[in-house]
C-alpha cells in the first residue's frame, strides 16, 4: 500500500479558496501543542494572541500600523514572485528607503523648511528603494547572478550602513550617546489620522497601493505580462514579452514600495532613525505575499492577520512571559502550512493498494 501524489487534471478552485483557512487552522493546532510544551495554557495563550488585540481600540489601531509596511512590501514582492523573480531582500530595500528619506529630515532639521519636506522624503525613499532593488535585478539580467543570494546579501549591507549612520554622522548630539537621530520635525513626520491616535496616513497609502496593484494585475497588459512570464515562460517568449525587462520592472516596483514603507515607518510611528526599525517586516512580508496567494486583496487580509500575530506576540510576552521568538516560529509554521495546502490545488493524494504484487513477483 502506498500513498502517492498525482497531478490533478485541472486546478481545484474549491481548495484554492479554503487552503489559507486550512493552513491557519493547522497552524493554530500546532501552536496549541507548542504552548502546551512551553508549559502555558494553550487556550489562554491563543486568546492573548488572537482575541485580546481585537478587543480594544489601541490594539486595533496598532494592528493597522503594523499591517501598513507588511502590506506595502508584500504587494511589491507578489509582483516579483508572480514574474518568477525572487526578491528576498525587501528588508534591505526597506532600510535603504528609511535612510534615504531620513537624509532630508536630518538635513532640514531645525530649519524653516515648509510642507515640501515630507513628500520629498517619500519620493526619495521610494527612488532609493527601487535603485537598491535594481542592483540584484541588474546582476541577474546582465550577468546571470542569482537574485536570491544577491538581494539577501544586500540586506546585511543596508543594515550595517544604517548602523554606521546613526552611530556616526547622524547621531543626535543631545541623544546621550544613544545610536539614534534627533526626533524629526513636524513637517518631516507622517501625520496621524486621528488626533492623539496611532493610525497614520501611511495606512491610507497602503490601501491605495493595494488598489493600484489590483488594477495593474487585473486590468492592464503589463500585469498580464507579469503573470504569463511567471506561469508560462515559454508562452511568454512566443508572445514576445521581454522577461528581463519584467524582472527589472517588478524589482523596481517592489523596491520602491519597500523603501516607501521604510520611510513611513521611520517618519510615522517611530519618529526618528535608529537601528532595529524593522522587526523583520521584509521577511514577514514574504509570508504575507504567499498567505495572500499573491493577490492584492488576499495580501491585505493576510497583512492584517500577520500584524495581529506581532501584536499578539508582544502581549503574550508581557502577559504570559512567552518569548517573542514564538511569533517567528508561528510565522514559519504558517508559511509551511500555506505552501503545503497550496500544493493540493494542483495535486491530490491517491492511495495505491497492493494489487499488482503477483505480477511484480513473476517478473
Amino acid at each position: 500500500m502506498q500513498l502517492v501524489l498525482e497531478k490533478r487534471t485541472e486546478r481545484s478552485n474549491a481548495i484554492a479558496v479554503i487552503s489559507p483557512l486550512i493552513a491557519i487552522a493547522l497552524t493554530i493546532v500546532t501552536m496549541s501543542i507548542l504552548f502546551a510544551l512551553l508549559g502555558k495554557n494553550p487556550v489562554t495563550a491563543l486568546a492573548v494572541y488572537f482575541i485580546d488585540p481585537l478587543t480594544d481600540g489601541y490594539s486595533l489601531q496598532e494592528i493597522a500600523v503594523k499591517a501598513t509596511p507588511l502590506v506595502m512590501i508584500a504587494i511589491g514582492l507578489s509582483l516579483c514572485y508572480l514574474a518568477n523573480a525572487w526578491n528576498i531582500g525587501a528588508e534591505g530595500q526597506f532600510l535603504i528607503g528609511a535612510v534615504a528619506g531620513s537624509w532630508i529630515a536630518v538635513r532640514t532639521q531645525g530649519s524653516d523648511a515648509g510642507a515640501w519636506v515630507l513628500p520629498a522624503m517619500l519620493v526619495l525613499a521610494a527612488a532609493a528603494g527601487a535603485l537598491y532593488a535594481l542592483i540584484p535585478a541588474l546582476c541577474r539580467v546582465k550577468f546571470g547572478a542569482s537574485e536570491i543570494l544577491t538581494s539577501l546579501m544586500l540586506v546585511y549591507v543596508a543594515d550595517l550602513f544604517l548602523d554606521y549612520l546613526v552611530r556616526g554622522p547622524w547621531r543626535d548630539p543631545n541623544g546621550y550617546n544613544f545610536p539614534t537621530t534627533a526626533d524629526f520635525d513636524p513637517v518631516a513626520t507622517v501625520p496621524t489620522l486621528v488626533e492623539g491616535g496611532r493610525l497614520h496616513l501611511g495606512s491610507i497609502i497602503a490601501l491605495v497601493v493595494v488598489a493600484a496593484a489590483a488594477v495593474l494585475l487585473g486590468r492592464t497588459i503589463k500585469g498580464f505580462e507579469i503573470r504569463v512570464v511567471g506561469a508560462a515562460p515559454r508562452a511568454a517568449r512566443f508572445g514576445g514579452f521581454n522577461a528581463n525587462q519584467l524582472i527589472l520592472l517588478t524589482f523596481a516596483i517592489s523596491g520602491a514600495l519597500a523603501g516607501l514603507a521604510g520611510i513611513i515607518e521611520v517618519a510615522g510611528p517611530i519618529g526618528h532613525l535608529q537601528p532595529g526599525i524593522s522587526p523583520g517586516y521584509g521577511f514577514t512580508a514574504i509570508i504575507v505575499a504567499f498567505l495572500g496567494r499573491l493577490n492584492p486583496i488576499g495580501i491585505l487580509i493576510a497583512g492584517l492577520f500577520l500584524a495581529l500575530t506581532f501584536i499578539g506576540g508582544e502581549q503574550a510576552q508581557i502577559a504570559m512571559k512567552i518569548p517573542l521568538d514564538v511569533t517567528k516560529v508561528f510565522q514559519g509554521i504558517l508559511l509551511f502550512y500555506v505552501l503545503a495546502c497550496d500544493s493540493l490545488i494542483l495535486y491530490r493524494f491517491r492511495l495505491i493498494l497492493p494489487t499488482r504484487k503477483v505480477a511484480r513477483g513473476a517478473r
Binding site: 497531478k7 546582476c139 550577468f143 546571470g144 547572478a145 544577491t150 539577501l152 550602513f161 521577511f283 500544493s343
Partner: protein, 305 residues
C-alpha cells in the same frame, strides 16, 4: 611571523563552517534540489549542538546533536518539496524563518552559558614545528573532518556509480526515473546529507569558534555557503578554494578593524556580504557558454505512473 600564523589559524577556523555547510549543499544541489534553508538548519544545529555539549559536557555529543537537528530540519524540507511537490525556493525561506525563530525560542535558556571549546590537536614535536606546525597539526577535529568530508564527497560524486546516479537525478530526473532509479529516494538522501552537514557546520560555531550561543549567531553564513556552491560551479575542488577565500575576507576585515585603519567598522563588516555579490556577478559573467548548474536544479518532480 607570529601574526601571519595567527591569521592563517583564524582563517582556517572561520572557513570551516562555510566549507562543511557548502559541502552538504553541494551534494543536495547535485541531486537537483535547491535547499535555501541552510541558514535555518545551521542555526538549529548551533543551538542543539551547544545544548548537547552543555548538558553532557561532551563536544562529540554536541556535534551529534547538531547533526541530528540539521537532519530533522532537512526532513521537514524533504517532506514539503519531495513529498508534496512544493516550490523549493519558498520552502527554503520558510525553513530559515522557522529555524531562526525556533532556535531563539529553545536557545533562550542557554544564552549566557559557556562551555570549553573543542580541543586542538597536539602532537608533540610535529605541532611545535615552526611555520606550519600549528597550521597543519594543531587544529580542532572539525577542521580535519571538513577536509575529509569534501574529499569524500568528491570521490563519491566522481568515482562511484552511486555518485553518477545522484548527478543523473540532478541533471535529468525524467531520464533517471525512466531508467528505474528511485529519484525521490535519492533526493531524500541528498537533502538529509545536506541537512546533516548544515547542522554540523552550525554546531561548529558554539562548539569550537566561540564557546557560547547567541541567537542569530550564524549571521548569514548559511547564505554565504549557498553562494559558495554557485561560486564553485558545483565542483568540490573549487568549493575548498572558495571557502578559504571567504574565510580570509571575513578575518581580514576583523584584523583591519583591530589595526584601526580609520575605515568605519560597519563598512569592514559588510565586506564578506559585498564580496559574495561581487563574486557571484564576476563568476556568472566569465563563465563561457551555458550554466554549469545541475540542469534540473530547483524543479519539482512528481513521478507519473
Amino acid at each position: 611571523m607570529e601574526l601571519a600564523e595567527a591569521i592563517i589559524l583564524s582563517v582556517l577556523s572561520a572557513s570551516t563552517p562555510l566549507l562543511i555547510a557548502a559541502t552538504g549543499e553541494l551534494v543536495t544541489e547535485r541531486a537537483g534540489v535547491l535547499n535555501l534553508g541552510v541558514e535555518g538548519m545551521m542555526i538549529m544545529g548551533a543551538v542543539c549542538g551547544f545544548g548537547g555539549a552543555l548538558y553532557t559536557g561532551s563536544i562529540t555529543i554536541g556535534a551529534l546533536c547538531g547533526i541530528i537537528a540539521g537532519t530533522a530540519m532537512s526532513l521537514l524540507f524533504a517532506l514539503m518539496t519531495l513529498g508534496l511537490a512544493v516550490n523549493q525556493v519558498a520552502t527554503g525561506l520558510a525553513l530559515t524563518i522557522f529555524g531562526v525563530g525556533l532556535s531563539g525560542l529553545i536557545g533562550a535558556s542557554v544564552v549566557g552559558e559557556q562551555i570549553t571549546a573543542a580541543p586542538h590537536l597536539h602532537i608533540p614535536g610535529l605541532t611545535d614545528l615552526p611555520l606550519l606546525g600549528h597550521v597543519l597539526f594543531g587544529q580542532d577535529a572539525f577542521v580535519y573532518l571538513s577536509i575529509a568530508l569534501i574529499v569524500g564527497v568528491w570521490y563519491f560524486l566522481y568515482r562511484t556509480r552511486a555518485g553518477l546516479i545522484l548527478r543523473a537525478c540532478g541533471d535529468n530526473h525524467v531520464s533517471a526515473h525512466a531508467l528505474g532509479y528511485p529519484v525521490l529516494r535519492i533526493r531524500l538522501l541528498a537533502v538529509m546529507f545536506g541537512g546533516a552537514c548544515a547542522g554540523l557546520a552550525g554546531a561548529y560555531l558554539p562548539l569550537a569558534y566561540t564557546p557560547f550561543f547567541i541567537p542569530g549567531m550564524t549571521a548569514g553564513r548559511g547564505w554565504i555557503a549557498l553562494a559558495l556552491v554557485v561560486f564553485a560551479s558545483w565542483l568540490p575542488a573549487r568549493l575548498v578554494a572558495g571557502a578559504y577565500l571567504f574565510g580570509a575576507v571575513s578575518i581580514l576585515q576583523l584584523h583591519a578593524q583591530g589595526a584601526g585603519i580609520g575605515i568605519p567598522s560597519q563598512f569592514m563588516s559588510s565586506l564578506p556580504y559585498l564580496a559574495t555579490v561581487i563574486v557571484l556577478v564576476a563568476l556568472s559573467r566569465t563563465r563561457s557558454g551555458g550554466s554549469t548548474a545541475p540542469a534540473a536544479l530547483g524543479t519539482v518532480f512528481v513521478p507519473d505512473r
